[in-house]
């Protein structure tokens, strides 16, 4: 099944009942799938919005009303959604946003790229906030992480971003959908009428400085909890590795291919694959530095996650970078040559 459609199916199975979107390649099949399949479920709503901005604000409204809500787009469209994502974070509302990245900046092109790492992991919009960022590397993981994204969004009342690229969205692979966990969330915020209780309100405009500061620290404490509890990563062939590649998503897949080739040539190389880009597996990478000196960060951009790896290592070890931006997808053979080059140089 195709990656884009898998996200849609996983979302519906996870209880997503509101989707608003605006077409953009290479994520169109997701919007199409939702148009076709939201009517399958009771209370399902699909809206093709008049713009990306409208779509994210519709999602904000649906989230405030208690729905599991999702929107999706690709890089330029995600830029347009940032104001709404910032508001979701300020309002502490759960929502899932899918970014099937393409080449940039600007309108760029429609090919797979990882140029939006900074935007995704630094919040993206204005203000002092973070979004949980999940980076799937296979169609199966698209399904699993989409379901998890809704749970994480509910658990922390925070927007969750699924960051994949055009290749993940367009590619088909076999997939098995797991049974989603029942939804658990604090209904206290849901704007469904006050009933006999107190009146409810959700707001992102806090004019008083002290109250705003309190709100910022409250969010900060929440992000600290997420950082402690939700880090996810995969390691591959790291046990005896003398050089470690750090890569995520499509780049991590290519890295695995390159590692297999390198191992056949006797080069002891392994992979650390962050699955959550925020929170970043800082501690994991730092602990590897106790016995591995050489790190090679591989991204389909000109060097973004490499800064997080350098921060994690704090000056210990050597960090090299290899990147192919603009929609170029390097081959495992190409990366294997880069690995061999760095090993020789060492």
């Amino acid at each position: 099944m195709q990656g884009n459609r898998v996200i849609g199916e996983a979302a519906i199975r996870a209880g997503c009942r509101f989707y608003a979107g605006y077409p953009i390649t290479p994520q169109n099949e997701l919007t199409e799938y939702m148009a076709d399949n939201m009517r399958r479920v009771k209370d399902g709503t699909f809206i093709q919005a008049e713009s990306e901005i409208a779509a994210i604000n519709m999602v904000l409204g649906a989230a405030a009303a208690g729905a599991r809500a999702m929107t999706s787009s690709s890089s330029p469209g995600i830029s347009l959604k940032q104001e709404g994502i910032s508001s979701l974070a300020a309002d502490e509302l759960p929502a899932v946003i899918v970014n099937i990245m393409r080449g940039g900046p600007g309108l760029g092109n429609i090919l797979p790229s990882q140029g939006d790492y900074f935007q995704a992991t630094r919040g993206g919009g204005h203000g002092d906030y973070r979004t949980v960022v999940l980076a799937p590397a296979s169609v199966q993981e698209l399904a699993d992480l989409t379901m998890d994204a809704f749970d994480l969004a509910d658990r922390y009342r925070n927007p969750v971003l699924i960051l994949a690229d055009g290749m993940m969205g367009q590619m088909s692979e076999p997939v098995e959908f797991s049974e989603p966990a029942p939804r658990e969330y604090p209904e206290c915020y849901v704007l469904n009428g006050m009933g006999k209780g107190k009146s409810k309100f959700i707001r992102g405009l806090i004019l008083d400085a002290i109250r705003m500061e309190e709100h910022n620290w409250k969010l900060y404490r929440k992000y600290q909890v997420i950082t402690q509890k939700e880090v996810r990563f995969e390691t591959f062939w790291t046990d005896d590795a003398e050089i470690l590649i750090v890569a995520y998503g499509t780049a991590a897949r290519i890295a695995k291919g390159a590692i297999k080739r390198s191992r056949e040539m006797g080069i002891p190389v392994g992979l650390i694959r962050p699955i959550t880009l925020w929170p970043f597996p800082t501690e994991v990478i730092r602990s590897f530095a106790e016995r591995v000196e050489n790190f090679l960060v591989f991204e389909m951009n000109t060097g973004q996650m490499v800064e997080d790896v350098q921060l994690a290592l704090g000056g210990i070890g050597k960090v090299q970078f290899y990147g192919r931006p603009g929609g170029v997808i390097p081959t495992p053979a190409e990366l294997a040559k880069v690995i061999a080059y760095h090993v020789r140089k060492k």
Binding site: Q2, T25, P26, I110, L111, G166, M167, Q170, M171, S172, E173, P174, R253, I254, A255, K256, G257, A258, K260, I329, T331, P332, A333
Partner: protein, 178 residues
Amino acid sequence: MIRKTIFAGFGGQGVLMMGYIYAHAVMNEGYHVTYLPSYGVEVRGGTANCTVAVSDEEIASPIASEPDYLVVMNKPSLYTYQNRVAPQGSIFLNSSIIDTSPTRKDLNIHAVPAGDMAGQLGNPRVLNIVMMGSFIKKTGLITPEAFLKGLKQILGEKKKSAMEINRKAFAAGYELQI
């Protein structure tokens, strides 16, 4: 074991369908498989292509820089992709409209007059399935029954009536001596 195939031709020749059915069929047989279509800035009458990777282990890249097999339905696709085929690889070409030979001499060339054969069967649209008949026979990775099962699943209930002509087309390609 990993086998990568590029399918390429004009939009409308069923190029993506060939790859998709093949991917589906090998999935049923328990292989790891990726299917990656060309997408986006395509135009009607322009070129279409897709890549299918089949392996008995996890697949790193769904892209084929050196495909083992190339299936080309028109001349421009032959020119575009022939130099990428891995040494000792194979090219399957639709000889009904490709009137030139590949310049590569180290490859196995299988000329299948898929367009003409489909026409003789009474439905020129099934040229892609004729081609797949020959492809499945020569590559030998899956049985014809496995392919037809995949085909049936993709066509689904809606196009049940189309199954008969497709079955004939597949058999014609499979039985062709090339």
